[in-house]
């Protein structure tokens, strides 16, 4: 595999071709381009949509509160998938500091064991200030991984509270990881995050209270959703690997349900919308960044002196964006 870094091999065409060929460095580079809103990134993703088989991959979302064991469980799932001969790519999203935009991405700490295995590709991402549990480019990054031949893409969201439900628009199957002792069950039932779970993983089953939490969850499911599907509740110990095989089986049963019921079409439509949203946000960020700095500082200055209110300022900036677009840079 040629690893040369020269510019010629960085054209969207060559990068797309190398990604489809399974070149890991091309994949890594394209992810960076996408994250940074580089102009060639959208072109790469379009080319992949035209030339790669993007229908078969299954996206698995892993969400839940901080410390529940999402990363450890993702690691255990990858181990399990590898034993079954399946390749897996992982996206690990962590929050950016709201003050500096910087981030410490530490999830890889929990995934030390897959080095040297070409069947595994792991990428850490900052949410870059985006709310919702993912980053604006996560959907695109998952597409890149898919095009590189990963039929399973596991996406770990930032540690969620109650409202970070964006993963439901991207993943085929959302695994909600819960652990005993994180607050009472009323709290659980209030949370929007409960509604997006396709499978519940009650993790740290080696600890007191896990079995109780699992049975409480099961009892709360007396009303099943309109499509007649009741999310399974699986006890896992991500550390020891106990229950992880069963979790993977439950994930696959959920996917089979999607296929049999035809709901897979709905899931894929949602995914396309999520990708569209991400792409639009990217264009918007670039458009904002394309405003001349003198214009921007003038608007900011007027804002500070209260000559402009925030709404009029937004209008002014919007008009500048439109003028830029018409100018056809």
């Amino acid at each position: 595999m040629s690893m040369s870094n020269n510019k010629e091999q960085q054209t969207p065409e060559s990068l797309a071709e190398r990604i489809i060929g399974g070149d890991r460095r091309a994949l890594a580079r394209a992810i960076t381009l996408l994250e940074n809103g580089a102009p060639q990134a959208n072109r790469i993703v379009s080319l992949l949509h035209q030339n790669a088989d993007l229908n078969k991959a299954r996206f698995i979302g892993i969400t839940g509160p901080p410390g529940a064991g999402k990363s450890t469980l993702s690691n255990a799932l990858v181990t399990c998938l590898r034993k079954r001969g399946e390749k897996a790519a992982l996206i690990l999203v962590d929050p950016a500091s709201p003050l500096t935009g910087g981030a410490i991405l530490g999830d890889r700490l929990r995934l030390p064991g897959h080095s040297g295995d070409d069947g595994v590709f792991i990428r850490s991402m900052s949410n870059r200030g985006h709310l919702g549990g993912l980053s604006p480019t996560t959907a695109g990054v998952a597409t890149l991984m898919q095009a590189a031949g990963f039929k399973r893409v596991i996406i770990e969201t930032v540690g969620t509270g109650q409202a970070e439900t964006e993963i439901a628009g991207l993943a085929d199957t959302v695994v909600l990881v819960l652990v005993p002792g994180l607050g009472d069950d009323i709290q659980l039932m209030k949370a929007g995050i409960m509604e997006i779970a396709d499978v519940f993983a009650v993790n740290k089953s080696d600890r007191d209270g896990a079995a109780l939490l699992a049975s409480e969850l099961k009892m709360s499911q007396t009303v099943s959703s309109s499509d007649g599907f009741t999310p399974e509740v699986i006890l896992t110990s991500a550390l020891s690997g106990d229950g992880v095989d069963s979790l993977l089986d439950a994930i696959d049963r959920h996917y089979a349900h999607l296929e049999q019921s035809g709901l897979i079409k709905v899931t894929r439509k949602k995914r396309i919308q999520t990708q569209l949203n991400g792409a639009l946000q990217g264009l918007f960020r670039n458009a904002l960044a394309g405003i001349a700095s003198e214009d921007l500082s003038q608007v900011n200055c007027q804002l500070e002196q209260c000559i402009l209110d925030p709404y009029s300022a937004a209008e002014t900036l919007w008009n500048l964006i439109i003028a830029n677009g018409k100018g056809g840079k």
Binding site: R24, A28, A103, P112, R123
Partner: protein, 131 residues
């Protein structure tokens, strides 16, 4: 909108990652994205992570005394992978007399105990060019 991405890794067998964590936090506070991979990583693991994460720079921290072997090995592996553009720097308990050889081997800078984190931030801002 490009952000500097840095991998902070600890090769070698010592179990002290306080210094590495202090650096990681300082870089985050300077607006960088820091991938932290934890203790006892082999050069092979470190380089593979750096490639997957497509980082601009790679910081190695070592207190076990094995830096003379481990740091150049990381640089060598990066070169083998065609990733010599990733800037390698190091820190930890490293005797002055070892520094020239490490630099000759391709470690761009060595930060010894007592270095201010401000210097590390400045160093990266100066040497890393994110397009």
């Amino acid at each position: 909108m490009a952000t500097i991405r840095v991998l902070i890794a600890k090769p070698g067998l010592d179990g002290h990652d306080r210094g590495a964590k202090v650096i990681a936090r300082a870089l985050r506070d300077a607006g960088m994205e820091v991938i932290y991979t934890g203790l006892r990583q082999t050069p092979e693991q470190i380089v593979e992570a750096a490639l997957q994460e497509d980082v601009n720079a790679l910081g190695l921290s070592c207190l076990s005394g094995a830096h003379n072997h481990l740091f150049p090995r990381v640089v060598e592996l990066l070169r083998e992978q065609g990733a010599a553009d990733i800037l390698v720097f190091g820190g930890g308990v490293i005797p002055q007399e070892d520094i020239p050889d490490l630099k000759a081997a391709g470690v761009v800078e060595i930060f010894t105990p007592g270095t201010s984190t401000v210097d590390v931030v400045e160093f990266l801002n100066k040497h890393v060019n994110v397009k």
